[in-house]
């Protein structure tokens, strides 16, 4: 009953997103024209999403090694050694296009997908993070998209019982037609119990577990690699629906099976579902596969091999079991009410043979699809240097601070994180709102710090500097809580790489990130690339999001941003008063110009290591890195978190007051200490610029060259914008 195969026309080829050249290559590889099923497989395997054909050349330049790295990029997620026989396994992934089309399900399935990437390697997920970018708040779609995305992330994460502990949100008109939803998961496994996707053992069974296969997301992978146009509406039926309840069962069932010796290899069915999982496992093991598609558990009658191979139904995994372990595995999955089916076997042919009711409906060589996929060295032009920044007017400091704290990019995200269960698992030590979240991993008080960051406006103005800055800010956020930064995962969100200026942004950002990673011993262990983020030729800001993980080996030696009374404030790092591309410039002067603040990687490292040691030595009672909004905003966030006022004294010399207070010079930390002399002396010894700039106490914030403002007033300014903006949105 082989479904009759339509003749493969140029139109059908184009519809599958293959260029004539790529189709030619496919014909060459097969030695004949592919049938529809095979064409569909080529199209998903060679989509930008699965093949990284535009970015591969440049990704290879990122540093991926360190003594503590167990597994770098190339597996489902990165793995690092965190001591005590434990490994941290983490990755970030984008779900941008689906979330724009259906914000709730798009974001929810994004979370589900990244969770599977992590637990497929044997880790129990312990934390979720997310990085979100929306359009202008005044754009008609923005509220609805934000409400849906946040509800979707919460709806999925809360139900699976993994705390959502940190993230970031920006608003900018460049995302009006193309929002960004990047989700990150961190998990913990025993270093001797890590599972990989490398198939082994000719004759071993190929096993399907999880949910049934439906017609969800057919061509989702190719859609995720095509920029939007007015026809996007027709692509709607491809949106997948997630079931966090089944995901929770799948986590428990997989971890239960992973405690046995039954699994040879395992891989989640993500984008391009059964196709990419089976091809990747076979390719990694240098083997072949025979699949019996009539054995695939289906949700609907009459599903074709084409639909089964391309479906992106959620909550499904593919495993290679060791001989004689089927019954053991079947019992566990049936206990958890999940589907379990042997759908094929490993062969030594190096080919994928697809059989349906006894007939061969498709046959393709594995490596040429999985590895010899097209790789492009796309033409690119460097981003021109920004013009020198003209004069920047001085706004009255207190008024400037109030307006900055009430602006969309700086106001409190409480409205968001209170919709996420950030405490389930009862190990969340530092909740959302600080520099990095801290999650305990052992009863003895070993913990992981994690943060996700990006400053797209810097990357737009200067991709190389912006790339350095992204890595440096994550590193800073981890140091600021007293953690040793270990490694990062990155999510490169860019426009259409076939445009040389966009390609130039990608190349530049990767170059800058690589430099920073090397200078800070902060390797990349996993990541994801999302290109074609454009609507009708309008590209997003270059947005290379970085998620970092750091280790705190003793929870009693860490810091948070909340200040108490009677402390001295010390500013670490050099302040030049850099206002180019600052939020002060954008929010108060309506300008987005100038160069971004330069990152001095040597100083960055020196200052970061100093702060960490000062926290370890108990010399610091509170710490906050300086980022968006500069010194004044950081000071206000520390005061509000601690419910304690503070006074910033006027400084002699140095930059003008607005540069001093709102400049975004890099590599800086504001700390509170009870022993300023000792701290300043230690800083001097370490060659770290440090100055006493104020003291804590009272219930107001006092700025040099400005008056005082009560914490109550500041808090209202900071807490009101988001709830006010979202009021009245029903889901």
């Amino acid at each position: 009953m082989q479904p009759q195969q339509p003749e493969i026309t140029d139109a059908i080829v184009a519809e599958h997103g293959l260029t004539p050249e790529e189709f030619g290559l496919a014909v060459q590889i097969l030695g004949r024209r592919p049938n529809l099923l095979e064409l569909g497989i080529f199209s998903v395997m060679w989509s930008e999403h699965c093949s990284y054909k535009s970015s591969k050349k440049w990704l290879k330049t990122l540093p991926t090694k360190a003594p503590w790295v167990i597994q770098g990029p190339g597996e489902n997620a990165g793995v690092i050694d965190i001591g005590g026989g434990l490994a941290a396994i983490f990755k970030i992934e984008s779900h941008n296009h689906p979330s724009f089309i259906e914000p709730y399900q798009g974001a929810a399935t994004g979370v589900g997908g990244i969770l599977r990437d992590v637990f497929t390697m044997g880790a129990r997920p312990i934390a979720n993070l997310n990085a979100l970018r929306f359009g202008d708040p005044t754009h008609p779609k923005t509220r609805h998209l934000l409400a849906g995305v946040v509800a979707g992330i919460g709806g999925y994460g809360n139900c699976v019982g993994v705390p959502t502990v940190a993230g970031e949100v920006n608003f900018h008109p460049a995302y009006n037609g193309n929002i960004l939803v990047n989700a990150m998961t961190v998990g913990i496994a025993r270093t001797d119990r890590i599972f990989y996707a490398k198939a082994a053992g000719v004759g071993n069974p190929v096993v399907y577990v999880g949910s049934k296969t439906g017609r969800d997301g057919i061509h989702g992978a190719t859609m995720a690699s095509a920029s939007f146009d007015e026809q996007t509406e027709e692509k709607r039926p491809t949106v997948q629906v997630g079931d966090p309840f089944v995901e929770k069962l799948l986590i428990e069932a997989c971890l239960e099976l992973m405690a046995t010796d039954a699994i040879e290899a395992i891989q989640d069915m993500g984008a391009a579902g059964l196709t990419s999982s089976s091809f990747e496992m076979a390719s990694k093991g240098g083997l072949g596969v025979e699949l019996w598609l009539d054995k695939v558990p289906c949700r609907e009658v009459g599903m074709t091999p084409y639909e089964m191979m391309l479906s992106e139904s959620q909550e499904r995994m593919l495993m290679i079991l060791r001989p004689g372990r089927e019954d053991l595995a079947r019992r566990i999955f049936e206990k958890w009410d999940l589907d379990f089916a042997v759908i094929g076997k490993l062969t030594d042919t190096g080919r994928m043979v697809l059989r349906f009711h006894g007939e061969t409906v498709g046959e393709l060589p594995i490596d040429p699809l999985a590895q010899a996929s097209p790789e492009y060295d796309r033409p690119w032009v460097p981003t021109p240097k920004s013009k020198a920044l003209g004069k920047v007017p001085a706004v009255e400091p207190v008024e400037a601070l109030r307006r900055l704290l009430a602006s969309p990019d700086l106001c409190s995200r409480r409205w968001i994180w209170e919709q996420y269960d950030h405490m389930v698992m009862a190990d969340t030590v530092e909740r959302p709102g600080g520099d990095a979240a801290v999650v305990r991993v052992t009863p003895e008080g070993r913990a992981l710090a994690m943060s996700v960051d990006c400053t797209p406006r810097y990357c737009k103005a200067d991709p190389v500097e912006g790339g350095r800055q992204v890595v440096a800010e994550v590193w800073r956020n981890l140091n600021a809580v007293g953690a040793k930064p270990l490694a990062i995962t990155d999510n490169l969100n860019f426009g259409n790489p076939q445009r040389p200026e966009i390609m130039g942004q990608l190349v530049g950002a990767i170059q800058g990130m690589g430099e920073a990673c090397r200078a800070l011993d902060f390797p990349v262990v996993s990541g994801n690339v999302s290109l074609y983020n454009e609507t009708s030729g309008q590209a997003i800001l270059p947005t290379p999001v970085v998620g970092g993980v750091g280790l705190i080996d003793d929870l009693t030696r860490r810091a948070a941003i909340a200040v108490g009374p009677g402390e001295t404030l010390v500013l670490l790092g050099e302040t030049r008063g850099h206002l180019g591309q600052s939020l002060y410039l954008r929010e108060l002067c309506g300008r987005e110009d100038g160069a971004p603040p330069p990152v001095d990687l040597a100083a960055e490292r020196r200052n970061g290591e100093f702060v960490r040691s000062a926290i370890r030595d108990g010399r610091v009672s509170a710490c906050h890195d300086l980022s968006d909004g500069g010194l004044a905003v950081a000071a206000a966030e520390m005061a509000l978190a601690g419910g304690t006022g503070l006074v910033l004294e006027p400084v002699q010399g140095g930059p003008p007051v607005h540069g001093w207070l709102f400049g975004e010079d890099q590599g800086r930390y504001l700390v509170a200490t009870g022993e300023p002399e000792a701290l300043l002396e230690a800083a001097r010894m370490a060659g770290v610029p440090a100055q006493r700039i104020g003291a804590t106490g009272g219930d107001a914030l006092t700025l040099p060259g400005g008056g005082a403002i009560s914490l109550a007033e500041l808090s209202t300014a900071r807490e009101s914008w988001l709830p006010g903006f979202m009021a009245g949105e029903v889901l």
Partner: protein, 80 residues
Amino acid sequence: MKARVQVTLKRGVLDTQGVAIRNALKNLGFDGVDEVRAGKLIELDLEEKDPAAARRSVEAMCKKLLVNDVIETYSIDLAG
């Protein structure tokens, strides 16, 4: 007049709730239930008296707010 909108998932869209309800019914010993679909019911009291006009405005409400046409379909009943 009164309008009743019945919102159901489009064919082919995974009905996570329906599947769970069906399994629960099975566990309770209710066999012979082949499929369960879960949907939403929205009842509106309208000031509008003219059926045609009422239907038009409810249609508009569905498109604008009540229904997520990416995954849902709907039907409208009017009652005096």
